[in-house]
């Protein structure tokens, strides 16, 4: 209850008790019984710093910005005569507003909650938009099909008729090329390899590879395995579902909760067995570390969040990565890179990490292309109605990439890498692949399966 709502009598009696020397601070807000972000809303003092960081508001005249989507929306809705505004669907969930707020307002948590409520209460479950978003959000469920017949899938997905149909029937932009499916998934490779080459009860990590490294870029996942084995780690690869990132962004909170339940259960059990969790995708680690504890009360969430790491960060803290990299070099296939720090790495304080780590490796030159957002934000830039906004946001990054004087890109986020490739035509590498080349050597990639 706020001061304004308290009756005059109540206020007077507390004035009197102060005079009597018994004044106690007022409990302004009752304990929240369900999702209630009102206290967060009242921390907002309207400085609008979040708005100046929103990549969507900068290019899209229709988008009212994070301050509206969060604190203002919650105030508007207090009297139950307002629905969540549909503009929340234009938020790309880049989460940049989170690390900007000088008052620690949980902006992305508010946005995620509002979006969930909007989809639940205001979006028709029979609409094309809902169906399309559900498909995009649940990429993890479709990917196994494509991965079972990767060559066919790649051909079919690449056909212009497929892309045309995708746009006409589903609203998935025909401007983008679908990512290629690997002919062998990471998990298939892992199974054939009989798992970890190292057995070490004292140094054990559980790898959360996420969907993309499994189905589309298993070379990233294999790089992680080889780099960690080089440091003597035993790797376990638990059962896992999608991290939930695309589901949050589409307001599919129930789908995300189901995924979170699986992931928390499996990862918690690995932690019980003495492992720490590492992830190679910055959005996966973001989701487990921040969004799970913010949105779900699944048992063990806090423990899993506190024991989940970015894969490179983990090595920096638990090993002397810098010394290990001293004197290493990589071949000409890794030469000059234009590096883009994904928003979700930035929000974890990891934006400078790749440059710092690769600084000591001979033969690789990395240029940071600055703090602009790539604009794709997962499934966001795949939607027909967002494509133009997504490319406008990305324009600054594309320009900086071409000014960087490199002809290849480097990043840790799968969808940022799609956007970087789409906007510049560059081939995009993951930091772990460079570390693999430096620490394990060029022959690693030919390891027999």
């Amino acid at each position: 209850m706020s001061d304004a709502e308290r009756s005059t009598d109540e206020r007077e009696s507390s004035e009197r008790s102060r005079d009597a020397g018994e004044f106690e601070p007022i409990q302004v807000f009752p304990e929240a019984e369900e999702m209630d972000l009102r206290p967060g809303a009242d921390d907002c003092y309207k400085c609008s710093t979040c708005d100046t960081n929103c990549p969507v508001a900068e290019v899209d005249d229709e988008f009212p910005g994070p301050k509206f989507q969060g604190p203002e929306q919650w105030r508007l809705k207090r009297k139950d005569d307002h629905d969540v505004d549909e503009s929340v669907m234009k938020c790309s969930n880049c989460m940049r507003c989170d690390s900007t707020c000088p008052s620690e307002v949980p902006l992305s948590q508010m946005h995620n909650t509002a979006r969930g409520e909007y989809v639940e209460q205001n979006m028709s479950k029979f609409s094309r938009e809902y169906l399309r978003n559900r498909i995009l959000a649940n990429y993890r469920r479709l990917a196994p099909l494509a991965a079972a017949f990767p060559r066919t899938a790649n051909v079919v997905m690449g056909l212009s008729i497929t892309r045309w149909l995708g746009e006409k029937t589903l609203g998935i932009t025909s401007e983008r090329e679908f990512p290629e499916f690997a002919t062998e998934t990471f998990r298939e490779w892992w199974a054939k390899r009989n798992g970890s080459n190292v057995s070490n009860p004292d140094k054990r990590v559980a790898y959360f590879h996420g969907c993309y490294a499994n189905y589309n870029t298993p070379e990233v996942a294999k790089a992680l395995v080889r780099v960690y084995e080089r440091f003597g780690y035993e790797i376990v690869v638990p059962e896992q579902h999608c991290s939930g990132t695309p589901m949050f962004a589409n307001g599919m909170l129930e789908d995300a909760r189901r995924s979170a339940e699986t992931n928390v259960r499996e990862l918690a059990s690995a932690i019980d067995d003495g492992a720490d969790v590492v992830a190679s995708c910055s959005s996966c680690s973001m989701s487990i570390r921040q969004e799970y504890p913010e949105l779900f009360d699944v048992d063990g969430t806090g423990d899993v969040a506190a024991n989940t790491w970015d894969a490179v960060e983990y090595l920096r803290v638990h090993e002397d990565l810098e010394s290990a990299l001293e004197g290493t070099s990589v071949g000409p296939e890794f030469d000059e890179f234009a590096y883009h720090a994904p928003c979700h790495a930035r929000n974890q304080g990891l934006d400078g990490q790749t440059l710092e780590v690769l600084d000591v490796v001979e033969g690789v030159d990395v240029t940071d292309v600055g703090d602009s957002c790539s604009g794709i934000s997962g499934t966001y830039g795949w939607k027909e109605e967002n494509y133009e906004t997504s490319m406008k946001i990305g324009e600054e990054m594309f320009e900086h990439m071409s000014e960087a004087g490199a002809a290849a890109g480097l990043t840790e986020c799968p969808t940022c890498s799609m956007q970087m490739e789409h906007g510049t035509g560059y081939e995009i590498t993951h930091t772990l692949e460079v570390l693999e080349a430096a620490l394990v050597g060029p022959n690693a990639a030919t390891e027999s399966t």
Partner: protein, 441 residues
């Protein structure tokens, strides 16, 4: 294994950035890291660099801040570092920002019109504000926009005239061609102009601009909207939304198209001149090889074994994972009550990371006076340092041998009343960074 550096600066505002730059500059061998949590209050700041606009007793506006620095009370940050250090620090700042700032040619304060139509005494100002100085006697036109209520141009113009500026000033309010939202963000205006985005025929018509047909670039469209409203004025002031990355280009194009000088009037938060200064500082940090870790807080510290008075390492919280960071020397530049380096509850004021001593009265009813604009004691609350800017404990001894503090986390001054915020941040940032680098070697 901790993340290892020689100098670790905690806080990424003006004081922290200058400290890190000074440390990197003082000793080229020192490895310097800056850790910053949320974005700094530079985004609230006008971008003006004031040193001292008013004496602590209220005298002012001061024509020259330096003579007044001599008379500052013991404990004021400028008294702690000394006037020579203030001068050196300003020279250092001038070197960092180069042509982007003016005012370094003289000790005297410049008078810059603000968005409220007041005149602020300041030591340095962005070149974008240069043509707007109140000491200049050329007549001026101020242009405001219907969708940007933070700047009421006719009111600001009237206020300036009432303040006695030596020129005629007029204000007009226009539609901004290409902006439709009532609450478009300042970054949206800046982006339109930076990119010179095309403005369609409908938007031109709405802004009452006639062209030979078809769409035109937003810079031309803005110039066209202003042209008819210009009388004999030889300079035009806009709210500070004229571009971000390419602000100089935007201003030059508008000046060319209008045939008059163009300037920006600094605005309240969120402020593009503050954002541009922040970007300039971070570019300089990158160029100087300073490692920057942002978005994560320092939450704790450990001293060396045996109850030593040296900080051994600090702990950075990354979403629950605790990442140790070790350095020889530490600079605390986390800000005051606004930046949240210091927080208050009903009992006491607390410095958030090291719990350094914050001198203040025990009874909270002695923290403030009833006159809102009176001399508020709480405005001066903050750390009390020695002459090397090491925070002192309640007994007057340094809290830690290897910790210095810079910027608004320091007490002993009221930056809002004195107009001394940026100057204190630069002077104390410079001194702490330089000393930290010297001692880290």
């Amino acid at each position: 294994m901790a993340i290892e550096d020689d100098v670790l600066v905690i806080g990424g505002g003006l004081a922290g950035a200058i400290a890190a730059l000074s440390a990197a500059d003082a000793d080229r061998g020192a490895r310097v890291r800056l850790v910053t949590y949320k974005q700094s209050t530079l985004r609230h700041a006008s971008g003006l660099i004031d040193v001292l606009g008013y004496a602590p007793d209220g005298e002012g506006p001061l024509a020259d801040p330096f003579p007044a620095l001599e008379g500052l009370p013991r404990g004021h940050p400028y008294e702690r570092v000394g006037i020579d250090a203030v001068r050196e620090a300003l020279d250092f700042f001038d070197g960092v920002v180069g042509d982007a700032y003016a005012g370094g040619h003289t000790d005297r304060n410049a008078l810059v019109p603000t968005h409220g139509g007041t005149v602020k005494p300041t030591a340095r100002y962005p070149t974008s504000a240069a043509a707007g100085l109140a000491s200049d006697d050329r007549d001026g036109l101020l242009v405001g926009f219907e969708t940007l209520p933070d700047f009421d141009a006719p009111l600001a113009a009237a206020h300036l005239e009432a303040a006695g500026v030596p020129f005629d000033c007029r204000g007009v309010t226009l539609r901004f061609p290409g902006i439709v939202r009532d609450d478009a963000k300042v970054t949206r205006y800046a982006h339109l102009l930076d990119r010179n985005e095309r403005v369609g025929a409908d938007a031109l018509e709405e802004a009452a601009i006639t062209t030979d047909g078809g769409e035109i670039g937003s810079r031309d469209a803005l110039a066209a909207a202003v042209r008819d409203r210009l009388a004999d004025e030889t300079r035009v002031g806009f709210p500070a939304i004229l571009g971000d990355e390419r602000a100089d280009e935007v201003r030059a194009d508008l000046a060319d198209a209008l045939g008059v000088d163009v300037f920006e009037v600094p605005m309240g938060p969120p402020s593009l001149p503050g954002i541009r200064l922040e970007e300039m500082l971070y570019d300089a940090l990158e160029a100087a090889g300073v490692r920057v870790t942002s978005g994560v807080p320092v939450v704790d510290y450990e001293t060396s074994a045996g109850g030593s008075d040296r900080i051994a390492r600090v702990v950075v919280d990354r979403h629950g994972a605790e990442i140790p960071h070790r350095a020889e020397q530490y600079v605390l530049a986390t800000g005051g009550l606004v930046g949240k380096g210091i927080e208050a509850d009903r009992e006491r004021f607390v410095e958030q990371i090291f719990d350094c001593h914050v001198p203040h009265a025990d009874d909270r009813y002695d923290w403030f006076v009833d006159d809102v604009f009176g001399e508020q004691p709480y405005a001066r609350f903050g750390l009390a340092p020695d002459h090397e800017l090491r925070p002192l404990d309640a007994n007057g001894d340094p809290e830690f041998a290897n910790l210095r503090a810079a910027g608004a986390v320091l007490g002993g001054y009221d930056y809002a009343a004195e107009k001394s915020g940026a100057g204190v941040s630069i002077a104390t940032g410079y001194v702490t960074g330089t000393r930290a680098a010297e001692e880290s070697g």
